[in-house]
Symmetry: D2
């Protein structure tokens, strides 16, 4: 476990998915994690795992703040089927609603994190582009949107392009818009390639520093923002160093005698990735398709969750 | 003149360029405009006209606030020549510097107005994408950017996509970043097709409500923002109704007897444009090229103006 | 009529829609056009006009070759409703099928004309990007596509970007692929702004020289290609000179005494458009949306027409 | 060596760079390769290695046809410096000229292989978009392009999108255009991440089946095309399986006793990559920038090589 933590640190890798963090820790220790409760459900196209971190001990072990982390796993999402998309969107909606503890007509601000110019990081801006926006209509022609909640959205960009901390920009806008709740969308990194485009995490603790494809430096959460922050993320990349490590570990477990020399592993991988300083990612060849497909599914799920009174056909039409 | 104003109002048309407003008024009245001072210079590839509105009377007649409006006209900008681009960028830099009344190392916030998803309105986001960003480097590794001023930039989107007033978003960010000055970049509408992509307006009064390709509803200026706002705009479209009116006027002046029936003109044009409610634009077929070319020239001009101590080769390299 | 022809020639304007050509001629002469037969139907969201040019006299007057021109007019297409899209797609499919005189499993080549880098001309490449492609699957795993016809598609680009006549590129590919029929998709110019994105023309005479947003220099038809060519086009622009002329004509008809001086009209408009040599277009502000919406509708219509045995849900899923 | 070949086959991996193939074989055998001659030069920003495969034995060992493979390695290309770009473009031009055995004014066809919708495969279409096209001007206004060779270009798309073999499309166009020579541009896969965007291979044997990011199924070479084919490629991805293997090999060489069980390696990596069937790639986070930068450099190099009589400023201006 310590070796793993040290490895992740060397390569600046954060475990974005609570489910993966839990599996890594359980795999290493073989025991229940104190302060962590888990519940699993299935649905026709996959499963939903709800992990709750309930105390400081759980926080420390998991490296994530107390709260609820819902992970939807739907392997068939990879195959652009509208039926699967709709089924998963409904599961997103249902689970997202379970975290919305706000009045029915309270304003929600959607924040699309990431960089629309760098394909693997474009999930957030893609959702902002397609999400149903109604806040201005509530001000201009309220009768038209009587069945809809006021929703607004924007994409704050990334530090390297704006020169401004993402959290700072969001905080500025929050102070003007005064939403009751923020939903932040982000591209995540997974440790397992099978999760790319097929896993969706919904959490009520916001965005932690160091997370996402394009690492955030400041948290985006209820402490920094002053209102609850729900984060929705989809893994679009695996850090390339993890592939190397996984190959070495799996091989040693099965074919080699003797313990793996973890210092050696780090050294070997550092050399391989040295020219890009850890900035290399593993992603499917069709990364552009992956982002579009995942973005569409998340968008539908959010729309359904936020506007339960709107007729479903109308919602689809507005997509 | 009243007829013109009434015509523009009918079609929701704003005269974005001070130079055009002045010419329209002078053309109609044939007289000097009280409270408006003009000065004209030339440079190898064009001319620079500096219009100053100096009092309330000038404001009322021109429909624009007191301040300085610099118009660079460079017909050859249409022909993607790097030489012309560089020459115009230098003229932009020189004139922009004349409006920068702030300390050498004060932070500047560049705001790219408009919608990057709608080609004719994408100038602002294009400049934000390419402009040199240094503010975060001043915080992280100040020695590397010793020759550079702290600059940050972002694109706030448009009301129809975010559900939030553009000015509100900017104000929120301004309160966090606390820049000494804002430079706002916008796509403009002209009344003359020859200006498309070849005219650049730099003004020190910010952005007025109702201006730009995608009309703003709230001003972005020193009153609303609390710091000076310099606006840089390039016409990328002509409102289609203006073409119809211009055809009628020019024809009548030269070929027809009798006065033009202005009520009839409005009626005829309203019928032609009715299905799109005035939202039709005239633009060159190669609108995508036009935006890229104009965006590049403005970006270079701003970079030169903001970092006078940086070696020119370095600036070009960073482009 | 001669005046109109001379006007269109001056500005290099082609009347792309047979329906508009017919209306212009009928409007001028007030009489039936010999060699031209017309039939009109309606459907819930619009109408279908089938014009047949049946002899040389009709050809000469209409300026279009003998054949069938089906025009679907659906004003509600402007409002991105999936219901309207589907209804229009079904009408496209039904009418397209009426022109498909080829065996059920014969190969079809879809050609997306135009330039994907210039938004108003991007309809063809957009359809190619989304259309269902099955020809390679028929070669690799025929059982999977047993219910589908072999379809292939490509976008040949435009002369200014490739340096090769579009018709030459297509002819080369046709000689390799040997399709039984070509369907060519193109952005058109209309003379009436209300048609932008709401009219669809399907014709069995291919593409004429001089037509489309980006004029073709060589015809793409059964003579040049050796197989039947069906053309599907959607107006995305109006030539800007036409707006000026329309304003003058409508005004004079209603408000002015005396005949319009057509030489004067030309002169006035030439001056207005001189800097861009007629290359200015009128288009909605949301040209990017328009292209996406129209492209999607045409794509669905073609898919339905070409694969009548495929289950509809499967077709939608593959979109 | 056999193990390597078997590993590459399992994962459907082709060694695109002759220099890498040679180094792998030399590394495994430690001996000169019969039928392979190598020459190395340096230039301020890197080195040029010219590998000639001179006989059947060399072909068999290298897995590549007889011919010349020029590899330019310029590690600084990663840092978007215009100075480095220009220096590398000049080296490209010089080496490309050495392979052009055709008359000064003979027509050249540039073919941009790959898929512009999938970022890592978009190098070819990017070059086609920016390359100087003159063939149509030679037909329309020959005096304007007197100093230029006739050049045309197109992007044939990929099998999965067109349903047509890429080589078939090219062959069809070649038979119409009848160029004296083809230059084919392609995104390549490397085995070493340090090559991404920094290595350029120029070869006179065309494109082999199975090569490139998006594997070709038919060769594009003088046998299939009937004219010489020069291929220019830049690695933009590393196959993810190679990273795993490299980690295992480097680790075992240095830290482990006992031989690596190659069957075990394959098994472990197959499991890791199973969900994507080998379709996972390793690429820098900024893949969009990488493609733009490499595309620009290759474009400049080709322009310089093809138009030696054109003034350099004019060429740059036309970029």
């Amino acid at each position: 476990m310590q070796e793993l933590t040290s490895f992740l640190n060397t390569f600046g890798i954060n475990i974005d998915l609570a489910l993966e963090a839990k599996d890594l820790i359980r795999g290493a220790t073989g025991r229940e994690i104190p302060g962590v409760v888990e519940e699993k459900q299935t649905f026709p196209h996959g499963s939903v795992t709800i992990i709750k971190i309930t105390n400081k001990q759980g926080e420390a072990i998991m490296g994530k703040p107390c709260g609820t982390y819902i992970t939807i796993e739907a392997p068939n999402l990879r195959f652009r089927s509208p039926e699967v998309q709709e089924s998963v969107a409904e599961v997103i909606a249902k689970n997202l609603i379970s975290l919305l503890q706000i009045p029915e007509k309270a304003t929600i601000l959607i924040v699309g994190l990431g960089n629309w110019q760098a394909t693997p990081d474009a999930l957030g801006p893609t959702v902002v582009k397609h999400i149903l926006i109604t806040r201005h209509l509530h001000l201009q022609m309220p009768q038209v949107v009587a069945n809809y909640r006021p929703v607004c959205a924007f994409a704050p960009g990334v530090l390297g392009i704006t020169g401004i901390e993402t959290a700072e920009i969001i905080k500025g806008v929050v102070e003007k818009v005064k939403p009751a709740l923020i939903i932040a969308i982000d591209s995540l990194a997974a440790t397992n390639v099978s999760r790319l485009g097929t896993t969706i995490q919904i959490g009520d603790t916001g965005i932690s520093p160091g997370s996402g494809v394009n690492n955030k430096r400041m948290g985006i959460n209820s402490e920094t923002m002053g209102v609850p922050v729900i984060a929705i993320g989809v893994p679009t990349v695996v850090n390339a160093a993890i592939i190397g490590r996984m190959a070495l570990e799996n091989y040693h477990q099965r074919f080699a005698q003797g313990r793996l020399n973890h210092y050696g592993v780090k050294q070997v991988l550092e050399e391989i990735f040295q020219p890009f300083q850890g900035g290399l990612i593993v992603t499917p060849r069709e990364i552009d398709d992956l982002i579009e497909n995942a973005g569409r599914t998340v968008t539908r799920g959010i729309n359904m969750a936020l506007h339960p009174q709107a007729p479903k056909e109308e919602l689809e039409a507005l997509l």
